[in-house]
Symmetry: C2
Subunit: 365 residues, 2 copies
């Protein structure tokens, strides 16, 4: 076995999910994530956890959904019972075709997701972690050769997470103490209030309220946004290429928007509901193992020297106890490269310039 | 999709498992049974059942078991909770290597099976059905080309099950009314008591207490066996080739044994416990879709014109209410070809001669 697969499994089981003896573990396996599943099973055996593997195939889901009449059972009791007794839920993504469910009618998919609200919440109540096994289909999506993609993915995943968590804690502290963030870059001059909000040090571990591997970002829930912002990282949203999105905010709401490509998709998203026109997240990518965009949000939004903003739903972890932040049926991330001609200020102090933080070598305050 | 895969899925879901709308279904998928899983998911969607797919890989199991210290949790609560809320459990066998767990220490495997007694019983409390998707590794085990094996497997699986069930009911009635069975063939003259026992019409459907697809046998639980029997169908037991096994019975117990090959394995099995020296099953294969031995007990024991006997555990379904039949940790089937120079008598009446039943054309009473 490729030693990197074994290391990936160990990071996932120990650092990310903190698996202990006797834990009831569900291992969700994509059809091409088999090798990683074998390595994770070995790690779970060593730690004497209980293992149940589930099979997550886009083709199986497509067959089920397209044949179904559309009135989905909101309480599939066996799946709920399973999750209620589950301590750790490890999702190993990796299919053979990232478009496997492309022809499922949107209405069917939405009905299915709506019906599965309780199942999803039961999953979120476990120590869940989502990762991907680098597959040929993900390499294709990233426009890379297979071996090239493996190197890319493992560079992102096999970090010194404890040390990155320490570095990210510095930014989290600054955000927690600050009242206002200003982002200035080419086509961007945006201010956001963050007073009273708590940043999440997303260090790829349930111990940090962080559920993705790789991770490597610090995020919070901004409000009262003013100004304009341009997102220059290319991406695909709802099957459409989107380039150079520009949003203009007044009083916390999007009042104008445009895009070099895909403006119709952006318009559609902003029309979803009221919350879709306000920000739900400000995230600062700090994973320097990710050195290029691959049109996969799990990686792109964590890339070092990028900043992302999401329109839509805010995460509870960032909000004061009992307060509901921005609510919406969507949460759509858009990403800006801040490696050049950029600065990030907190209460007027520059904390990052041209991608370098103030505690880093090469920072030019 | 190969139309036979779709037919297989429909037989499994409708005839075998009697799936209805709202049923909570677990679909256990082997790594190479993906295509059948897609077809079954489609059938389950059409019938509006709830689907949860699990992943059953010998390689994942091997990694887990060999890494584990060996003290397995007898109550993995999440898996038990899942099965307790499961109505239908469909197992789709199909790996890439039938020897995937060959190097797991026997002691580890036995400890794991012992620990999983309750899990197994919870599964047996569902409407469970086991089938296999014809894979390249099964073709290899059967010493056949892949396409040849597909034809073989679908001939066995895609039967007119209702009509076969009717035919098998005739034999079941004769066995239920009879007191004694005598089997005479080359190297065989054996009598068994069956008075008070109930035969199972194993028609590949939970409606008939039958949990294998393919099936096609009638079986009962004999006792007070006397005489000798030779099993001429070649097979592999515990990794060893076994040929021409001969057992001699007195007073219901094996008093002597021999084999053209593999006598040591037979001796080992007979030494397991007291029950391992008595018969637990007399089965009569009636599936004429199976026309050759493939060293796979799921198929071989159902083959038309064969009779099999198992040493070890008897099935409760054959016993009078409240009676425990022969008990043992093992249940090992051995098979005899009865297509030539053979006859099966019930209370002195010949019901099958040279593979033909008395109600069939060509029967020579």
């Amino acid at each position: 076995m490729d030693e990197r697969v074994r290391e990936h499994a160990e990071v996932l089981v120990d650092w990310s999910a903190r698996v202990e003896a006797g834990d009831n573990v569900v291992l969700r396996v994509g059809p091409d994530a088999h090798d990683l599943a074998v390595a994770v099973a070995e790690a779970l055996g060593e730690r004497e956890a209980n293992l149940l593997a589930t099979y997550s195939s886009g083709e199986v889901e497509r067959a089920y959904l397209t044949a179904h009449g559309g009135e989905f059972d909101p309480d599939p009791g066996h799946e709920r019972a399973l999750l209620e007794e589950t301590d750790v839920y490890l999702s190993l993504g990796g299919g053979r075709n990232t478009s496997a469910t492309a022809d499922v009618p949107g209405e069917t998919e939405r009905a299915y997701r709506r019906a599965r609200t309780e199942i999803r919440e039961a999953r979120f109540d476990t120590r869940w972690v989502s990762t991907v096994h680098p597959t040929r289909s993900l390499a294709q999506q990233a426009n890379m050769a297979y071996e090239e993609y493996q190197e890319f993915a493992y560079d992102a995943i096999l970090r010194d997470w404890a040390s990155l968590a320490d570095e990210m804690a510095k930014l989290k502290d600054l955000l927690d103490e600050g009242d206002e963030v200003r982002l200035v870059s080419s086509g961007t001059d945006l201010t956001m209030r963050i007073e009273g909000r708590t940043a999440v040090n997303s260090a790829a571990s349930v111990a940090y309220d962080s559920h993705n591997l790789p991770s490597g970002e610090v995020f919070t829930a901004p409000y009262a946004t003013e100004g304009e912002v341009t997102f220059d990282v290319p991406m695909t949203l709802r099957g459409e290429a989107v380039r150079n999105v520009r949003l203009e905010f007044a009083d916390g709401e999007v009042v104008d928007y445009g895009a070099g490509q895909g403006a119709d998709v952006i318009g559609e998203i902003l029309e979803t509901d009221e919350g879709a026109r306000r920000l739900g997240e400000l995230g600062i990518g700090m994973n320097r193992g990710i050195d290029r965009y691959t049109d996969n949000i799990l990686f792109d939004e964590k890339m070092g020297e990028t900043v992302h903003l999401a329109v839509g739903r805010a995460y509870d972890a960032c909000l004061p106890e009992g307060e509901t932040g921005n609510e919406s049926a969507v949460h759509v991330d858009l990403i800006a490269d801040v490696s050049e001609d950029s600065r990030l200020e907190i209460d007027g102090d520059v904390v990052q310039r041209n991608g370098r933080f103030r505690w880093e070598e090469g920072f030019d305050g």
